[in-house]
Structures are given as structure tokens and as C-alpha cells.
Amino acid sequence: MVESFIDKKTGCLTIQIKGRFDYSCHKAFKQAFSKGSVVSSYDVDLSEATYLDSSALGMLLLLRDHAGAERSKIRLIHANNAVVEILKMANFHRLFVITE
């Protein structure tokens, strides 16, 4: 399940993933970041994500592309150990800021 909200002051869009982060989230995740409001940075809250597969990694790349690739400001926050392990295996810490 995907939920999102924007902090109007900071311009930070938070996208929260609950449960399995896989292809079933594809549509909702894409909608969450392409709403059209002005966003200066993104937080993807993974605190309640239990698992993440390669299509989820793909979605994160989509978000990164949307947010301006090298210029994007995206943090992946509160990921559990299993999720961090998958992110690290793909070396995504070189593309995103990953914080506990």
C-alpha cells in the first residue's frame, strides 16, 4: 500500500510504503510522485515495508529520473535490515541517501 503527503513549508513529498514493496504498488507509487505539485525533495518512508523486490528498485529509479536524476534529492528512510540489505546489494546507496 502506498500513501503520500506533502509538507507545504519544506516542499518535501513523503511517500510511505506499507507491506510488500513490489509490482502491485507500481501504479500507486507512480501516481504518488507525479501529482504535479511543486516538490523540492522526496522522502520514501520504508519503515513499514516488509520486503522489496527488483521492480521496487525499478520504481525508485523511476522516481529518481522524475526528480532530475543526478540533481534529485531523495532519501530512503527508516528501512529495516532486510530492506537495507537488498538496497545495498544493488549498490543503491550510491544513488540515494539511505538513513535508518
Binding site: S55, L57, G58, A82, M89, A90, N91
Partner: protein, 569 residues
């Protein structure tokens, strides 16, 4: 009412029959009449009759019997049946509906009621027709799709399987969740012996995942055949995938370069679970974890090659698998990497049978019955003869006899030494020589030995004594990397001369470097001492060439290679 129906009426009472025919004809419908049940069955044609009206009580088969036979004749076609009846017994009427009638019209006929019922039936028929058309279109589409998939699968397999996976050094397992597999295992012999192997796992499954495998395999085989190195092939694959795949698709992969001339492997891991190297002399495997982003993620200028080298002795093994294994769930719902795979990581599993063991585990834990990711595993039994005998190509006779006579010189200065590998280009020119392409693996081996000696010992002044231990081996390559990137002065000159004399052809390769040479009088050409990790290059060259000469104090070397054409017929 616009839709005109062809209607079959059966009634043994002539006046009722004529009356109903008159009412129906009035609306423009085409009416065929029958005088009893058997006559109705005889006149029923499932291809033209769209509606059947049957009187219940008739001689020679009554309405119910006729209805059952007509339904049987209609087969899959939907032909509605209406019963005509003078009786008002609810049980008799409900029997009509039970055996498949859609309605009944009671006598005496009421034209207004008949019109209304016919309208309802026409709507039903139109709806039925639309459904049938959609169903047919759907099944035709599905058939077309399956056909397309079959064709695509053949092309896909031809491209991704045109490799040397059947080499005895390799064992692989491959389980796909779809017709198309998002995992690929590619292996190709290098022209100078040894092998390139790639295990890749594309995002997603099925056709969309498989499609990226085509350019990947294409570049992998083509560039390997042409003699390009892993460091050159990887950026090319990355750039191509980045260019053609949508942003959310990429390929987690491991690239393994098996180098037989110095008995080492180089491993590039981008996004796959740890590769395991099992030295036959040690208890635990060495793990090579992912140090790179998967292929197709980074733009070409940001792409990096973080590569791990390690030396091997024959009998050591390398095992790799896709995350379909790593993330498979065991029967208690835990991921394999946290449960089942432990003994493998601890070295408790005999490396030689590790793949069989993995399949056993996947089977016991019920993963193979219901896989939700493609599963691929690869095991390589490392040996110094990989790709040596098998790269020997058939020598073609007859049309390769045209004489050739040319020479060229290729000088690489510091900047070019840092940034280019000249060998594929030189080889490409040489293989245009008629007949020489049959020997391209030997030529490439000679060239690459000469060039790496000139570069590493001549220009970079590295001492090969460093390579005498496994650790030193890694240090050697680190040092090579470091010195090469800081190189400001130096050159390697390659000069090539091809000449023909009757049936003899000769190739003279001259390689000179800016280094200070070496004591070539003390070179030991004895290959029998296979324990030596270094200095085997020259012995190898000596065997391949008809003559090997040093000059300029050892900083220049000339290799003579000769072959015959036609003579043997």
C-alpha cells in the same frame, strides 16, 4: 425492428401455424414452417435458423423431444427455442424452460405479446452475437500472441544460447516462471583462451524482462569474439541498456573473466548476491559481494568498473546465483539467505556438488513448485585448459590462399596506453588476411602476451616476481591499475608485417616499449613448472611462434609466425 430473423415454426395445427407465420412475416422475419417434431428436426439448419418455435403436442416427436435434438444439432451455437402451447399447466410449462427453452407463447396468440417477446429475443441474440464475436476475436488474438511468442522464443534462444554453456567446466540450472526468462547465463570462449561468463537478472519476469537480454547477449558474444576485455564490454553493455531500457528496468549481473594464461579470474558484481569462490585448499568460500550498480542504471560517464581479481589453481570452483535463489522463501517463510544457504556460506557443502545440493534445497522447501522469481545458478570448475582446445576452429582450405603483403605500425603513447586497448583493432586488421582468421586465437594470444609484457614490465616497470603468491597477485593488479592511471611518459610500438611466398605465409609481430629491457638470456622456457604463477607467458610464446627474438636490451621483441596454404590440397 431492424434485425431480421430466420425463424422455424413447428405446429401440427395448420390454422395456428399459418396465423403465427402471418404475424411474424408481418415484421419482416423470414419464416420456415414444419408440420411436426420430426419435420422440424429435418428442416433445422444451425447455420441459418436463428430462432425455433415448437408446439408442445405434436405427432412424430413432440416439442420436447424435438427441442433436445435441435439443441444437439446446434452444438456450440446458441439457438433460442420458444414453446407454443394451448395448455396452461404450470408444471408442463416449467418443463419447457427446464430443458432449455427460453420462453413460451400461449395460445390463442396475442400479436402485441408476441411482438414484445420477439423484441426481447432479438436483443438477446444481438448480445449473444456480440459476445461470440468478442470471444472469437479474443481467441484469435490469443492464438496470434502465442504464435508470436513461439517465434520470439526461438529467436531469443538462438541469441542467448549461442554460447559454450555445454563446456564441461560449467554447470548451470535455470528455472523460469514464464515462457520467457528474465535471467540469462551467457558464456563465450575468448580468442586467446579462457572464457567470459555472464549471469544476468533483469527487472521483472516474462517477455518484458527477456527483451533486454537480446542486446546484452549480442554485445557480449560479439565483443568477446573480437577480443575485447571485460572492462571494455561492461561499459558498452551498460550504455546500450541505459539507452534502450525504460528507467525502471535494469539488469543485475555478474561478469566473470576466466584468464587461463595466468590462472586467475576477475569478477565484476553489480547487484547480484555474493559470488562464492571455493579454493580446494580452504574450508570456507571467499565471498565476492556486489560493488557496482546493476547494468543499465548509470549514464555512461558515471559508470565504474569495480573489479576483484583472484588467482586459482585447477579444481577451485566459483558459484553464482540470481536473487531468485537468495530471496526464495523456505517452508517456514524465511528467506534462503537467512536460513537454507548458511551451510553453503560456512563451507559445509562440498563445492563440487553445491549445485545439486541447491536444487535439492529448492525442491525440499517447495520453491520449485511455486517459484515467483526466475532462478539461475552457475558453477564453474576452474582450470587452466578452459577454452584452449575448444577454441580451436576448423581450418578451412581452398579459398584462403590469396596472398597478402602489407605492414603497419601502431604507436601508443601515455594517454592512449591509459585509455585504449589496441589489441582488438590490430586483430581485426590481421583477420582480414585470407586464411589467418583460422588462427586468430593463437595470433591473439601472441599479441596479448607481447603487449602485456611490454606494458606491464616495460612501461609500468612492474616485477612479475610479485605475482608469486595469491595475495601478491591481487597487489600486482592493484599496482598495475595505480601506475597506469598515473602514467605520463612511455610508449608501446606495435609493428606488423604480413608477407607471402608461394604457399608460405608469414606474420612478423614486433613490439617495442619505452622500458629499460630485461635480461632475456636467463629466460626459462620450461613450461613444466606449472606452480609458477608468472613467467609462463614467454614459454607459451616460444611454443606458439616459429621464432622469438629479443633486441634493444630486451625492450623489443620480434615474434615470427608462419602458416602454409593449399599445399596439402
Amino acid at each position: 425492428m431492424e434485425h431480421v430473423l430466420t425463424i422455424l415454426i413447428a405446429d401440427d395445427n395448420p390454422s395456428d401455424r399459418i396465423l403465427l407465420k402471418a404475424i411474424l412475416s408481418q415484421f419482416g422475419h423470414k419464416v420456415i414452417t414444419a408440420i411436426d417434431g420430426q419435420d422440424a428436426i429435418d428442416k433445422f439448419d444451425p447455420d441459418t435458423i436463428e430462432l425455433v418455435c415448437l408446439d408442445i403436442k405434436m405427432p412424430h416427436k413432440d416439442g420436447w423431444e424435438a427441442a433436445l435434438e435441435i439443441q444437439h444439432l446446434a452444438g456450440d451455437l446458441f439457438v433460442p427455442i420458444i414453446f407454443l402451447s394451448g395448455i396452461a399447466d404450470p408444471i408442463a410449462l416449467s418443463n419447457c424452460l427446464r430443458i432449455g427453452g427460453i420462453d413460451f407463447i400461449s395460445k390463442p396468440y396475442n400479436p402485441a405479446l408476441i411482438t414484445a417477446k420477439l423484441n426481447a429475443i432479438v436483443r438477446l441474440l444481438v448480445m449473444q452475437k456480440t459476445l461470440e464475436e468478442q470471444r472469437d476475436a479474443l481467441s484469435a488474438y490469443n492464438e496470434q500472441l502465442l504464435n508470436d511468442q513461439d517465434v520470439a522464443k526461438v529467436v531469443y534462444e538462438n541469441i542467448t544460447h549461442s554460447n559454450c554453456l555445454q563446456d564441461p567446466a560449467l554447470s548451470t540450472i535455470h528455472y523460469g516462471t514464464h515462457t520467457f526468462n528474465g535471467d540469462v547465463i551467457l558464456a563465450a570462449y575468448k580468442p586467446n583462451g579462457g572464457m567470459h561468463i555472464l549471469l544476468g537478472d533483469f527487472t521483472g519476469h516474462g517477455l518484458s524482462a527477456a527483451i533486454g537480454a537480446l542486446p546484452l547477449a549480442d554485445i557480449f558474444f560479439d565483443w568477446t569474439r573480437k577480443g575485447f576485455l571485460m572492462r571494455q564490454i561492461l561499459p558498452e553493455i551498460n550504455a546500450r541498456l541505459k539507452n534502450i531500457l525504460p528507467a525502471n528496468m535494469f539488469c543485475s549481473a555478474a561478469f566473470i573473466d576466466v584468464k587461463v594464461n595466468n590462472k586467475s579470474i576477475e569478477i565484476w558484481n553489480g547487484g547480484l548476491p555474493d559470488l562464492l569462490f571455493f579454493p580446494s585448499a580452504a574450508d570456507k568460500p571467499v565471498r565476492f559481494s556486489s560493488k557496482n550498480l546493476p547494468l543499465g542504471v548509470l549514464s555512461p560517464d558515471a559508470f565504474e568498473c569495480e573489479i576483484d581479481p583472484i588467482s586459482f589453481v585447477p579444481g577451485d570452483r566459483l558459484v553464482a546465483f540470481s536473487d531468485g535463489v537468495y530471496e526464495a522463501l523456505d517452508s517456514s517463510g524465511q528467506m534462503f539467505c537467512h536460513s537454507v544457504l548458511h551451510p553453503l556460506y560456512q563451507g559445509d557443502i562440498d563445492a563440487e556438488h553445491s549445485l545439486d545440493w541447491l536444487v535439492d534445497q529448492l525442491e525440499t522447501e517447495g520453491v520449485l513448485k511455486n517459484p515467483h522469481d526466475d532462478i539461475s545458478c552457475l558453477s564453474v570448475r576452474l582450470d587452466s585448459n578452459i577454452g584452449i582446445d575448444s577454441s580451436e576452429q576448423e581450418i578451412r582450405k581452398g579459398h584462403d590462399e590469396a596472398p597478402a603483403d602489407f605492414s603497419f605500425e601502431y604507436v601508443l603513447n601515455a594517454d592512449s596506453l591509459r585509455n585504449t586497448d589496441p589489441l582488438p583493432y590490430v586483430l581485426q586488421i590481421l583477420t582480414t588476411v585470407p586464411g589467418l582468421s583460422s588462427f586468430s586465437s593463437q595470433i591473439f594470444m601472441i599479441l596479448s602476451e607481447l603487449y602485456s609484457n611490454a606494458l606491464e614490465h616495460g612501461v609500468l616497470k612492474l616485477s612479475s616476481a610479485k605475482k608469486s603468491s595469491s595475495d601478491g597477485f591481487v597487489q600486482y593488479y592493484d599496482e598495475r591499475e595505480r601506475r597506469l592511471s598515473n602514467l605520463v611518459d612511455g610508449y608501446v610500438k606495435i609493428s606488423v608485417k604480413v608477407s607471402s611466398d608461394l604457399n608460405s605465409r608469414s606474420l612478423i609481430l614486433y613490439v617495442e616499449d619505452s622500458g629499460s629491457g630485461f635480461d632475456y638470456h636467463s629466460v626459462n622456457y620450461d613450461m613444466s613448472n606449472t606452480e609458477l604463477l608468472y613467467n609462463r607467458g614467454l614459454a607459451l610464446l616460444d611454443q606458439l611462434c616459429s621464432k622469438l627474438e629479443f633486441s634493444k636490451g630486451g625492450s623489443a621483441v620480434t615474434a615470427h609466425y608462419q602458416w602454409q596454404v593449399g599445399g596439402l590440397g
